[in-house]
Structure formats: C-alpha cells, structure tokens
Symmetry: D2
Subunit: 436 residues, 4 copies
C-alpha cells in the first residue's frame, strides 16, 4: 500500500469534529503523507461543509503541508480509489438526537444518544445509510479501509461486517480517553499505560491496567479513582466502592446507565426539566463553534471544541490510520469481528478488544484475564440486543426490533418496548425507509 498518493475521505466532513482531525493529519504528515483529503457531506449540510472546508484549508496553509482539501456532495467521486474512508454522520441531525433522548423518557426509560432505546432509534436511521455507502466502497474502492466513528459504532460496524464485504474497523474515543486518564493519575506518558479491555462498544470493561509494567488495577479500584473517569456527554455520578471492588474491573462511563439505572434516570429527568435535553445543549455548543470556525483569522482548532465531548476521536483515528499505513504492528483497542476472541459471544458480531494493527488491518489479541459471569452476562444480553437491532435496522424487521427493545436492560418490558418502538417509527418516519 505504501504508495505516494494517499487519499483519505471523511464522510460527514461538515461535522464540528473535523478541525480536530485536520490538526491530527497536519501533525502526522511526516508519517502519513496524505495527498488528497475529501470532505463529503449532504447538501442540507452545505453551509457547514463550506465553513469547515475553509477552516481546514487555512489550517493546512498555516503549516505549509501539501494536502489538497476537496469539498463535495458527490461521495462516489470521493470514494473512488480512496485508501481510508471515515464516517462521522448523524442521520436526522441533532433534531433526531433530541427525539432519541425524549421518546424513551416518556415511558420512564433513559433516553440516550447511543445506548438503550435512543441508540436503537439512531441505529435504525444510520445503518441503511452506512450500508449504502458500503455499496459504493465495494464498487469504487474495494481495498479501502472504512474506519467507522458513527454511533452506535458497535452496531454500525456489525452491520458492515454482516451485510457487506468492506474492510472495516469501528472506532471509539473511550479507550484512548481511559488510557489518558490513567496516564494522568499516575503522571506517566501515554506509552507507559497498557489496558486490557474486553466488551463491546460503549460497554467495555478494563480488566487489567498496567502502568510501567506494574498491574495497578486493584489499586485503581480500591481508590475509586474511577469516578474521575469522565466523558463529556455522560453525567459523572459517583461509583459505589463496594460495587467497584466486586466488579474487579474498571467500568466505562456508559456503564452508569446500566449499573445506576435509577439515579441516571432521575438525573436525566432533572436536567431535562432545567436545561432541556443534551441534544439542545449540544446544538448551542455547535452553533457557537461554527461561529468561531467562520472567523477568517482562525487558523487552528479552537480550544472550545473540547467542550463538545468526543475528545481524542481524531487522535485515535490518526494513530490507527498511521499504524495501518506504516504496518506498525502495535496495539489499539478497536471494534472488529469477534471470530472467537471473546469465546462466549457469537463469531460474527463486533467486539471491542485489543488488536494488533498492521497493513492487513486489525488482528484481535487473546484476552489474558478470565472473564467472570457478571461481566459476561451483561455483555451477552446487550450483544443479543445489538444483534437484533442490526437485523431490524438492515432488514426493516419489526419483530427483531421489538425483541431487541424488550430485552434491553434499559427498557426490559414489552409494554414499554411496544410504545417506544411505535413512537420511534412514527417520529423518525422520514429516515426509516426500510420499514415502509
């Protein structure tokens, strides 16, 4: 692959996250000599694409890097012979996210962007669009890697695995975020931290934490530093110490929705009553960010982007692309086809685990810590939900969707499931052609 003319495509290029990616590409240029960068978006997002595109060009110009930035609505031109394609799309935009947060709440269920019934709705909207993109990739760039950031990343990646021949890796910022947090606690460099993570996207457990070759897992759990592990989008409720000790692993931020269901629901209700939902908050952040981006003097990623949540996404992405491009053989935590690496999950599902990355892609590394039933059981039921959601989203299968919601721990009741599903189908009708 180490050819001269490296071509990278960003689908959803008008995203407010893009400047971070641009910054990353500039820094990585010596290792990763990108010639053409295509930012693709839909016409409705034309204004944002324009703003982002101009900012990108200013940033690149400032550092005098020979990357050509192309803006286009025609994703087929962009995909043609691409080397890496990333997706960061939001079908239905933040308005849809707002519904994802509010519909479940009506029925006393947590409404969250990527988890539970909210994530289910997002999956229904997103999977068909991604599968469409994959058809283009299969035709126009069959050797390209599709790096998927689009949430719910585990479900979207699994859909690509099951329904297409595209080489895909799903990516999340939680792993790198955890690593950075640990590095910060112990005041060491990132390279001195190694994590063994096991699980699925947004539901992974860190079962072993090595800092400078010392296993500090128990140390961290006993000192409850976990409660400092913050993700911008998720309320930072304190973990119960006895619980963490019995868990024997570091939970991820999203685990709060599962393990502290009641408090998280109360918290959401309170916040919605005061500030409106998270989608509204994000809309404001975005609006102000784009105002900043417009500034023709701006030649760098503005600080404010860090308030947006989703930090380190592009860092994770650039590192991954570099490892593939340079055939590095180092270890990343990414979403890939299971193939038995988590032996108690089906073979053809997506999992989020340590992988050795080389020019052939991501190769899962055997898990060295025994996985106890409490981790296994929760992972299995949520994965079953994901399997059903993939099927429902890809095939427009109502029955699979109803069962998915019914067994999800954040719904868990058929009456609620039916009502929520009905509202989702009704209020997202424009984005769910597969159910018509």
């Amino acid at each position: 692959m180490k050819k001269k003319d490296l071509k990278i495509v960003v689908i959803g290029g008008g995203s407010s996250y893009t400047p971070e990616l641009i910054e990353g590409l500039i820094q990585a240029y010596p290792m990763l000599p990108v010639k053409d960068l295509y930012l693709v978006d839909i016409e409705e997002g034309g204004e944002k694409l324009e703003i982002i595109g101009n900012l990108a060009k200013r940033m690149i110009k400032k550092y005098d890097i020979p990357i050509n930035v192309h803006l286009t609505y025609d994703r087929r031109i962009a995909i043609k012979d691409a080397d890496f394609i990333t997706t960061q799309i939001r079908v239905g935009m933040l308005e849809a996210r707002s519904k994802d947060e509010m519909i479940p709440l009506r029925y006393n269920c947590i409404g969250q962007e990527t988890t539970g019934a909210g994530g289910f709705a997002k999956a229904l909207r997103t999977v068909p669009v991604i599968l469409d993109i994959c058809k283009d990739i299969e035709e126009l760039a069959p050797e390209a890697f599709l790096l998927n950031f689009t949430n719910p990343a585990g479900i979207v990646t699994e859909a690509v695995i099951k329904y297409t021949n595209v080489k895909t890796i799903g990516l999340c910022n939680l792993p790198i975020g955890t690593k950075m947090q640990v590095a910060d606690w112990y005041d060491v460099e990132l390279k001195d931290v190694q994590l063994e993570m096991v699980g699925i996207n947004h539901l992974n457990w860190t079962t072993k934490i090595m800092v400078k070759k010392t296993n500090v897992t128990t140390d961290i759990l006993n000192n409850s530093r976990e409660s400092e592990l913050q993700v911008r989008n998720i309320p930072n409720l304190e973990w119960d110490r006895a619980f963490l000790k019995s868990l024997k692993a570091l939970p991820c931020a999203y685990h709060r929705y599962y393990y502290m269901k009641d408090k998280m629901l109360e918290d959401q209700k309170k916040k919605v009553a005061i500030d409106g939902n998270r989608a509204k908050v994000v809309m404001e952040v975005e609006k102000s960010l784009f105002e900043k981006y417009k500034d023709p003097e701006l030649q760098d990623k503005p600080k404010e982007l860090e308030n947006r949540g989703g930090a380190y996404y592009s860092e994770a992405a650039i590192q991954l692309i570099t490892s593939i491009y340079c055939n590095k053989g180092d270890t990343h935590i990414v979403n890939v086809k299971n193939n038995g690496i988590i032996p108690f999950l089906p073979s053809d599902v997506s999992v989020e685990v340590n992988c050795m990355i080389d020019s052939n892609g991501a190769h899962p590394i055997q898990i060295s810590t025994p996985i106890e039933p409490h981790i296994k059981g929760l992972m299995q039921v949520v994965k079953a939900y994901e399997e059903l959601t993939v099927k429902s989203a890809a095939e427009g299968n109502y029955e699979a969707g109803l069962q998915a919601l019914t067994i999800h721990p954040l719904v868990g009741d058929v009456t609620k499931a039916k009502q929520i599903f009905k509202d989702i189908l009704y209020e997202n009708a424009n984005f769910l052609p597969q159910f018509h």
Copy 2:
C-alpha cells in the same frame, strides 16, 4: 440396579405435597416395586411429618400395597443405601418465603419465591443445606440418584453439580404442566404431545410443539392460547399477541416477570395490599390442608391439594424414577449439567432440556430448533446471575451475590441490589451461616 428391595427417601417428607407422591407410588407400584419409603423431616416439622406419615400409611393400606413407610428425623439412616432420594425442603418455612416476597417490594422490585431477589434469598438459605445432604449421600449412598424438586431448582441442581459428586437431576412441574395444557387444547392424549424446551429452570422457552406429529407451534402462538397457560402461583396476565409472534416460542409462566415486569409489579403491589403476600395465602391453604390430612377417615389425596400449586410435581417425579429404574430410554424435560447441549451457555451449569432417560440417568438430546438472539440473550444474563448466586450461596461470597443481584433483570441497579442484599442478610441471618 433392578434389585428387589427398592428404597426411596423423601427429604422434606412432611410437605403438604407428599400425599400426591404417595398416590403416584401406589399407581406406579407394578412398574416400581418400592419396598421402603423413608419420609425425613426436621424436628420442627415433626407434627406435619406425623400427619403426613399417617395419611401415607392409610393410603397404602387402602390399596393393599406392600410399601413400608418409615418416618425419621435422622436423614443418615434414611439415606443409607437408598436408590432414589428426593428433596422438597423449604429452609425457613413459609415465614422466610414471606420475607422473600416482601423485601424486594420495598425497593420497587418484584418479590417472588423462586425468581429475582426472592429466589436469590431462597437460594442462599437452601444451597448449604442441600450440599450438607449431598455429603451424606456421597458417603452413604454414592450410587443413589438425587432428584431435586427444591426451588430454585436450577440453582440448587447447579450447586450439586459444581460442588459434589452426587448423581443429580433437577425436576420441575412446568414442562409436564405445559404438555398437559397442550394435550387439553388439542384434546389428545399426553403421549401425543412432544415439546422441545430450551432454557433454564423457570425460564424456558418451548420452541417446538408437536401434536400427533404435526408442528403446531405457530398455530398456538397465533391463537394466543398461551395466555391460558396457568401456574397456580403466578398471576395470569394476558400476553401481547404481537410480542408472542415475534418471540416465535411459547414462553413459560415465569416469563411474565421478565417480559411484563411493570404490570407484574403493579399486580403484586395490589394483591399484597388486599390479601397480603402469596406466602400468607399459601399458609392458609396449608393449614386447611393439614386439617384435612388429619382426618383418620381420609385414605386418598384430597382434591383440595390441587389448589396448592405445584400440580404434577409427583407425576413428573414418579415417571422419572420409573424411567431410570426400568431403563426406559424415553424423553423427559429435566435439569442437568449442560456439557455443551446449549452451546452458548457454559459447560458446567444446569440447563432444562429434553433428555433421554435410562438407568445411567439423563442424557441431553440435541436441540433441533435454532435459538435466536432474543431467547439467547435473556437466558445468558439470567444464567450468569445463577452462576454468581451458586457461588455466593455455596461459598458465602458477598461480592458474587452483589453482582448477581445487580445484573438480574428484576433488580438491575446497584443501589437497589445493595439495599436488598443487606435486608436479606439481616432478616435471614439464622439461615445463612456461610456469611458469618
């Protein structure tokens, strides 16, 4: 084994169910020539044992069958060289059951005898007693079969599998009850009905129903006859038809607690408010039953026993014993070690599946219907709960218990789990030596 002097032991012989078992033994005598029947109970249950023992003797005398009935508090004498040992014990008696139903309710969780936090408490009390009994069996009757009816039967059976060398089979009346109901619907004989059940005790799905060699599964689901499937102890709420169709299998009665969690909780609250809990109701039924049993004129199982719930337990038991004793090679649905027959559950857990029964015991038969994710996922998380509960109960392990409650779909929250566990430990202190 086909020796002359067949010895059967009933541990918990003073149970109100015993007359049904006696009736069964009388009817089965030509196939199953029991010489000695030992009814064993603890001294606190002495009065009941006396009443039951006398009734048993009158019944046997009436039919002129040469079975010797022995009453004893010394279970070692009973177990010595026994062929079959059944257990139907209730550690803490109905007072404890009452707590099992009320403690979870305080925290807005369903309180049920065998499922959820109530079943968890019952498991903690019961497993140590059963493991003690098994030590006696290992010493005094290592070749005996332990047929376990004691609830939670799946967990108790799994504890015996994991912690002892006793040959055990767990038994429940749900499978035979379902079979009888289907026979009734189609107006056929029991032998014309075949079920494929897959799952674990009190959480099994009937994935295939054959009546006279015709697969009637879809017919039954479409016609929602399932809502007629009643178990005396469980409120008979109506199933949603669209849900049943999407489930593609007949749920068991206990599935209502999982799939209709909210309604079942409301129902329980209402009933407790009016009549008190189910334990109280059963106490009344039992009291009146024992009054009946005392009647020296009574020489048969009284009709009223059927109101007690748990019908067909003894029918299932006698059939199973006969199949083993006569090496019949027929098929029963019982609880046994998995060993890969449900490939997505661990090898060493108990499962409830079709088994071929011969003089060597129960041999699971391969499942012929594919199991879809919605069934798999729920089964896996509840089995993980059971694995943790077995460990907690057998080893007095607090951490495993806390995780068990936290991931159980009827609790599902660590705050609730901690509170419920605390109350259970406190209010059952006399019966939980393993935690001291």
Copy 3:
C-alpha cells in the same frame, strides 16, 4: 405423517440384499403398513431387478400382505411423494470395486471397499449420483427421508448434508451387529444391550457397553472377546490385549485397517495371490445368489444371503423407518449432522452416534463418556480426509482429493497419493464426470 398410503422407494432395488429388506417389511407390516414399494434400478441392472422384483412379489404373496411392488427404471416416478427413500447403489458395480481393491495395492497400500484409497475412489463415483438423486427428492418429495446405506455411508451422508436440503440419515450395520454380538456373548436379548458409540462411519468406538444395566465394557476388553467381533468383509485378525486395554473402548471391525495396518496389508496381499480380491469373491457369491433367487419356488429369503456380508442392514433400516413412522422416541446409532454433539469435530460433518428417533428424524444424544486423545486424534484426521473427499467428489476438486489421500493414515505419503489418484482418475474415467 401417519397417513394411510405409505410409499417406500429402494434405489438400487436390484441389489442382492433386497430380499432381506422385503422380509423385514413383511414382518414389520403391522407397525409399518406400506402400500407401495418401488424398486428402482438402472437399465444395465434390469435383469437383476426383474429377478429381485419377482422374488419380492412371491414373498409378499406368501404372507398375504397388501404391499404393491413396482419395478421401474424411472426414479422420478418412484420418488414422487415418497415417504422413505433408501439407496443401496454401487456405481460401476463390482468391477469398480475390484479396481478399488487393486489400485492401492500396487503402491503397497491397503485396498478396501470403503476405507482408505479404495473408499476414496468409491466416494468419487458415488457422490455425484447421490446428489443427482437428491435434486429429484428436493423437487418431488421434499418431506421424504432419505435413508442412505450406500457406502462410504459417512461421506455420502455428509455430501447430502452439505450440498442439499434433503432430510437424510446414514445407516450402517456395524452398530446393530455389535449389539447382536454382545447380546450373544452375554446370552441376553437385544433390548438388554445398550451401546454408547462415538465416531464416524466405519471408524467408531464403543466407549460404553451396558448389559442389563451393568457396565461390562472393561469386562469385554479384558477378556478380549472383541476379537470375535466379525464382519464378513473384513479379515478377523486377533487384537493385541494390552492394546485393547489401553484403548479403553471396543474398536470396530474396520479399525484393524488402522491399528494393524501392516498385518492387514500382508493379509490382503496373501489373499489376493490365492483367491483374487474380495470383489471377485463377492461376484461369485452374487452370481450364485441370483441363481437361487430365480427359482420360482423360492418364496423366502434364502439362507445363503447371510454369506454375502452386510447382515442386519435391512433390520437396522426397518427399525429406523418404524421409529420415524411411529414417532417412537427410541435410540438408534446412525449417521447425522454433527452440530456439536462431538465437540471436537466441525459442526457440518456427519458423525455416527446414538440418536433419539422420532417423526422429526434423528436427534443426537449427548455423549456421556469422556473421549480421550487417542480416539479423538484418529477420528479427527480421518474426518478431515472425509471433508476433503466430500469436496473433491462433489466439486471435482483435484487439490482437495490429493490432500485427502495424502493425509489418510492408509496412504500418508504424497508420492503414493499422486500415483494412486492418477490411476483412480484414469481407470474410473467413465464414472467421474465431475473431473472432466
């Protein structure tokens, strides 16, 4: 299925074994009321078919049973709406068998009808014909059971499993023969003997032998009665006692080819030098049998048929058909899709194990004895050979065939494998269209 007009088809109806099948159908008539029996053969076998057909009619007439015997060359007419279809074909007839025995011998390898390079050649000739028959069954009788006796039965059954949707069960007389031999040794009835067999066709181990509920496996191995276990087609060389003890299971007759490779090869060479090969011997037997069959006075299966080898085939077949037809739920040892019942073999291969038989077919029963590495290893390499042979035979794949022969323990060398394969392809050219 229990309809009035039961239709059975015998493909290869002109076989010398057919009278045994007729006798079985006559005896089973009260349970198995066959209305139409179709004997199908190819035109080249017309004379034999005529002889067999007439004998069958005389036999049926003698016992005054209302079975209609039809003779036809048109297998589609026969298959149309059939309930059971059996195959007992020999593509290339005994001339081809003679080659199967002689070609390997040229290269110092055992030449045997169903095992090793001889069985490989037979598989190449047979699989395409069986798959053709299956196409007709899929079209004309999709609900029919195909009971396959055609050797190599394990490979042929696996081809049907992998390449068609036909409901199939493979059948061999070794299991019933072993059972009869054990019954004879212990002077008990057949029903008092239970075997646990594990393995694949013509390579199965009896790991547990129960006689009247007593485990007599060790008794049999220690007393080396195994050497009495005879199969007409296989030289009865004496087993080494220390070896049998270390094997901890009863080998089958064909195991001699594997465990006593050298002696068996010497034995074959000697016999061929004196009498010619086994095929020639069988030709003589067959010729004389058909002379007998022609006798218009003959109204019964002649005694001499027992010299032919393959005894009890029809007994096994009739019992199996009856169990399916009557939905008996009893246990037979047959060849079915593995699906995990032998966990160290692939899911989609054929295995020969205990199955519960009902109107839905054969349901493998979990194996209760642990399988040690010496049994596992040999079974795995021969199964790998079978997988490759199925692929080679069904797809005309030379590479798979070459690897199959190379790893087979009776060849085990690439130089020999190439030479043998070349001779097979050349000398069987008329019967191997898939390689042209």
Copy 4:
C-alpha cells in the same frame, strides 16, 4: 520489572550453542543490561561447561561489557530470583539421540531426534527433568519466565503448562529461519517480512507471507522456492509442485517426514549405511567445535558453529527476552498455551503461533487465514499424539504412551508401536525413572 540487576540463567549452559547466545547478549546489551549470567550444567558435563564458560568470559571481556558470568552445577543457586531462565538440555546426551534415531529404524520407521518415535523417546527422558526444574522455579523464582528451547519443544512446553505454574514460552528457530529465508529470496530486510504461522512446534504451516505489505504466498508456492528452505538437520528433498499448490501454505522442514515419509525413510537408511546416523555426525561436529572453543585466543563465536544446525536459536531468544524486558508489544512466533486461538485444538495444549509480546508475556494473535481440513487434520492427530506423550512422560503412563505411538503418522501400527516402545523403555532405562 525494569529493574537494574537483570539475572539470566542458562540451564544446559555447557551446550555448544551457548557462544551464539553470548554473542547475542553482547549485542543486545544496550537494550538488555544483564548483570548476572548463570551457566548451569550437570557434573558429567563439567568439562564442556568449563570450556564454554571461559570462552564466554573472553568474549564478554573483548567487548568490555559488565556481564558477570557464573558457572555452577547447583541450579537452585542460579534460579534464585532469576528473571529469565532458558533450558537447552539433552538428557542422555548424543548417545541417547543416537538410539532415538536407530530404534525406530529397526522397525522400518523414521528415526528422528524430535519427531515420531525418536522424539517420543526424547520426550520421555526430558519431561521429568524439566518438571523438576520447574519445581525449583516455582519455589525460588515464581515470577521468572522460563524460555524453553529444549526439544521436543512443543511437548516440553505443554508439560510445563499442564503440570506447573511456571510462566513459560517455548521457542524454536524454524520461524525466524523461515523469515530470514524469505527476506533473502526477496532481498529485503527482516523487518519487511511478516509471516502468519499456524500449527504446533516442528509442524507448522506458513499460511500467509507478506513482503513489504504484499502477500507473496502464492508467488512463493508457485515458484517452489520452498525447496530451498533448508534446516541443517533435515534432508532437503525436493517438494512436489502440484502438492505445494494444493497445500496452499508453506510447509516447514519437518513436514517432509510426514508428507514424504517413504522417501525420507529411504534417505535415512541410505545415510545411516554410509555415514552412520545424524547423532554420530553431530558428535564429530561437536568434538571439533569444542576443540575450537578451547583456544585461548578465541574471543568470538567461531564460524563453524553454523554447521551445527539450530542457527538463529539465540537470535530468537534474545529478541524474545528483549521484547518482554522492554515491554515492546511486537510480534513473535512462539509456543504458548492455546486457549482457543486455534479453535480446533484443545484449550490447554501448546501451539506455535504469532504472539504479541509484552512484559506480561506472550499473547496469541487471532489467525486471519482460514485453516483448511488438510492442515487441520494432520495437526490434530499429531497434537493428540503430543497430549498422550505429555501424559505418558509426566506420569509414567504406559497406556498413553502405547496409544501415542500407535496413532503417530510415522508409526501408525500397534505391532510396531509395541516393539519400539519396548526397546525405548529398555535402552533408556536409566533416564526413565517414571516408568519404574
């Protein structure tokens, strides 16, 4: 672990290979600052140990590296608090190897040092000694890594995995040798070559060969460069091209014994007739090497060592130790516990696969190429042989040993197996205490 005082132990330090190891340690010193190097041997090898020790000291002195070389017969002193322990022992010395080569030949079987009946005998002698060493490690250096080079390395490593708690990695020079050969063919650096190897020690297949990110597997197979792949100890017979193509993987040098059994046997017979066996040849080489080593002027590893066979052993070892010590996270092909990475082999056996190496040891990486039945089948039967051999060697179990030899493809007959086993037990009696 990154402590100052790194202690390395070489058990069998008097081996003629040791100078290569010393050279490696000198070169690696900047990365791997060894403080103490213990060369351990038995008293019978005292003279050799002395010679090697002095040469080692001269070499280290020449390069002015502060490694302290200690010579001792007391392995407990050496092991105490060691970081890395390597074993390169030869129980019974070259005299025993000579028997290993000659005994099988008497019965027309290949006699080879590590494979077949010869390797079996070597395993019987070696495993008890290694397990004894492990007892010392468990007591005196429980955190140490045992790097095992002692042949048969796969079997020895498996014995350590199954019978001890020692952290072990088995090591062979075949993988690095293959890599070097490929680098040579394509005239690239070692770092530009990546191999996917799958299998067990001395029986592994290279299923994917990447050179500068291009998959060259088919290119290599088609051009039959494989026949150039030489190992000093193994006759370099030419591979059949059609066979290589059908294999779809690069065989290892030892595969010739399996795939070209007949030619290899002929070759061995011929060579033994002319030169005596390989052990005799090696004795001469060794004798002359030690003469060289004695030379007080010699301060470097002499060129002649390369004729000895076993090239690159120490290169592989030093790289592995460095990767662990420096927590490098790079990929090595080593022998480790399977744990499902080769899904069709048992969990607790040793396998030779790509592993990510960090300070916690070796973590197998998922295999990315599908493994076809011809590779699987041969690997499984030889692994079954290894499992039985481990059991026989560790427990003195005759029955397991007899079955091991019987199913091994290079013996494959019970009569031969019994005779060979008898001779082995008799002629190695001094070294087989476990069988007394």
